[in-house]
Amino acid sequence: GQQVMQIPQYQHVQEGEDFTTYCNSSTTLSNIQWYKQRPGGHPVFLIQLVKSGEVKKQKRLTFQFGEAKKNSSLHITATQTTDVGTYFCAGRVGTNAGKSTFGDGTTLTVKP
């Protein structure tokens, strides 16, 4: 079945440093979504990428979708303590409403 691998599993950074998490799928995706889960909380939808090579920005966050639509990345510039949490990617194959596969997430800790 479809697999979505996410690396690294953990990332510890000093406040102000950059952070990147990578997501790789074993199959070509129709779209990829990114979520953030704060400690003790539930995942919150951040963004969706659909087009090959797509790049979207949300303030200090930059999301990319690979040309082959099998990988994606989330980059945070100049991390802040409010960025702590676990970032998940979720890849979807086709248009089936229930078929997003989540990666295991990257947990980010930020040292002030």
């Binding site: 539930h42 939808f45 229930g98 997003s100």
Partner: protein, 115 residues
């Protein structure tokens, strides 16, 4: 605005006991509904999803079941809990046919510990 309610927030149940978790959505009609489970330090595993009343698709064979008795109500059940059923259970909804645009909106989750 749309809201999703999930309860209880935490639950401790003995092995072999039944389970019933409820999720309701307000402010929308005919949503797609989902049950996910998250093991500690892991991603989300899709358990069930529903595109309409009485329509349930199971993704993972297990001793859990789901039902959708009303348009905006989704219930996760078990007749006899196992230790391996412990985890963080999340209900989610998405707009019908537009899940690829808006993503999932998750409830606050239920932390289930089977002892």
């Amino acid at each position: 605005s749309q809201t999703i309610h999930q309860w209880p927030a935490t639950l401790v149940q003995p092995v072999g006991s039944p389970l019933s978790l409820e999720c309701t959505v307000e402010g929308t009609s005919n949503p797609n509904l989902y049950w996910y489970r998250q093991a500690a330090g892991r991603g989300l595993q899709l358990l069930f999803y529903s595109v309409g009343i009485g329509q349930i698709s199971s993704e993972v064979p297990q001793n859990l079941s789901a039902s959708r008795p009303q348009d905006r109500q989704f219930i996760l059940s078990s007749k006899k809990l196992l230790l391996s059923d412990s985890g963080f259970y999340l209900c989610a909804w998405s707009r019908t046919g537009t899940a690829t645009i808006y993503g999932y909106t998750f409830g606050s989750g239920t932390r289930l510990t089977v002892v």
